[in-house]
Symmetry: C2
Subunit: 217 residues, 2 copies
DNA sequence: GTCTATACTGTGATAGAC
DNA sequence: GTCTATCACAGTATAGAC
């Protein structure tokens, strides 16, 4: 084994842990399974982490960032599409990402529940979810800005509602893998979103007034 | 120890298992914890169940019925309320039930994930969710019948969407326990439901004009 | 400082002796 | 029906090799 810094080793173990979780589930992710996956001896584990809990902490932070990254990427390249098209496009982009990596999303939920039961990790779970909420809220804001309209419902409530919807849809699809019904339900949500989207400035001079953030009441 | 039939013993163990799960979580529900909770010797376990998996199977079926029971009870006593009142009333009734027994609902999600990872139990999880879906669909149907209106959206999609919403809202509340935001999001869903509820022809005694989509206002 | 071998202690499920 | 043995495996600790 080549000599590596403790930081690199930690990184290596976190990645290995994620692979094991995705393959076998959080419950079966033991310290031994992790070091074995990383090709390291058992002793390496407690050289890098004080405890398993500390590893889990790192894993949660890592997977949180990873799930958020692809979502933020969808902001680009929206030309002058209709409100409806932007909403549907954004939601479908997220959904494709769920369908492509189901196991990864499953791990997310498993981790959250694991953390909620672990006194030292409960707060991490809350922060994780809080982070998702902020990202989703920003996302809703961005959509509205892009398409030049406003939401007729307070943003915090709309964000929480939307996040819950996506969580629920994901969870349920992970159980029955019914693509048709899932898609129908997703579109039902998209439809709802268009319902609470109201054109902001009726007097838009057809130019690109995109970056104009409409003043909220 | 009084002599009891194997069926009674099984019942006793299932109930004990549920108590342990609610108190300590599914992951910590070991065979030893269960028999100890039931006040039985460890050996009693494998006299009643072939394996832990078989116990879990019974537990899942038990908790599924239990969660559904209170929901179906709310059908009674609705007089001549408005569509809006019935929808909000029904949703709030469910929500009160979540807030009253959070741990129980948490166990539901934990069990589902546990089952999905266990080859012999994955199907049980699917059937469990399928059952919830049917109950929710019946519920939506009953609401519409009571208030004398129809849904402008195909019932299967609406049911799946609604179930996902409730799942998501519950899950998220279990994490952050934010009553205010949860309530706002719930009302957002209720609002959406009223949006897709359209008055049926008042004279119809019990016409099957369900999939008729009346023009929205 | 970076790593590894090995031992310790508790707990899991299960089975066989009583 | 009950109790105890078993055996695997969990997380952790430590002594010491590079």
């Amino acid at each position: 084994m080549t000599r590596r810094s403790a930081d690199e080793r930690r990184e290596q173990l976190v990645e290995a842990a994620l692979r094991v979780m995705i393959r076998d589930g959080v419950a079966r992710t033991t310290t031994r399974a992790v070091v074995s996956e990383a090709g390291l001896p058992l002793g390496a584990f407690h050289y890098c982490f004080r405890s398993k809990e500390e590893l889990l902490h790192s894993v949660i932070e890592r997977i949180t960032l990873r799930s958020v990254a692809p979502a933020t990427a969808t902001r680009a390249d929206e030309g002058d599409l209709s409100t409806r098209e932007i909403i549907f496009g954004t939601l479908h982009a997220y959904w494709d990402q769920v369908r492509e990596r189901p196991a990864e999303h499953m791990v997310t939920y498993e981790l959250t529940q694991y953390a909620l039961r672990q006194p030292g990790l409960a707060d991490v779970a809350r922060r994780q979810y809080q982070h998702y909420l902020e990202v989703y809220r920003d996302h809703l804001e961005a959509i509205a800005r892009l398409a030049g309209f406003g939401w007729t419902v307070p943003l915090p409530a709309l964000a929480r509602y939307g996040l819950s919807v996506m969580d629920g849809l994901t969870l349920n699809w992970l159980i029955d893998r019914d693509d048709v019904q899932a898609r129908a339900a997703l579109d039902e949500y998209a439809e709802h979103l268009t319902t609470v989207a109201a054109p902001r400035t009726p007097k838009t001079p057809d130019g690109d007034a995109r970056d104009r953030a409409p003043t909220a009441p």
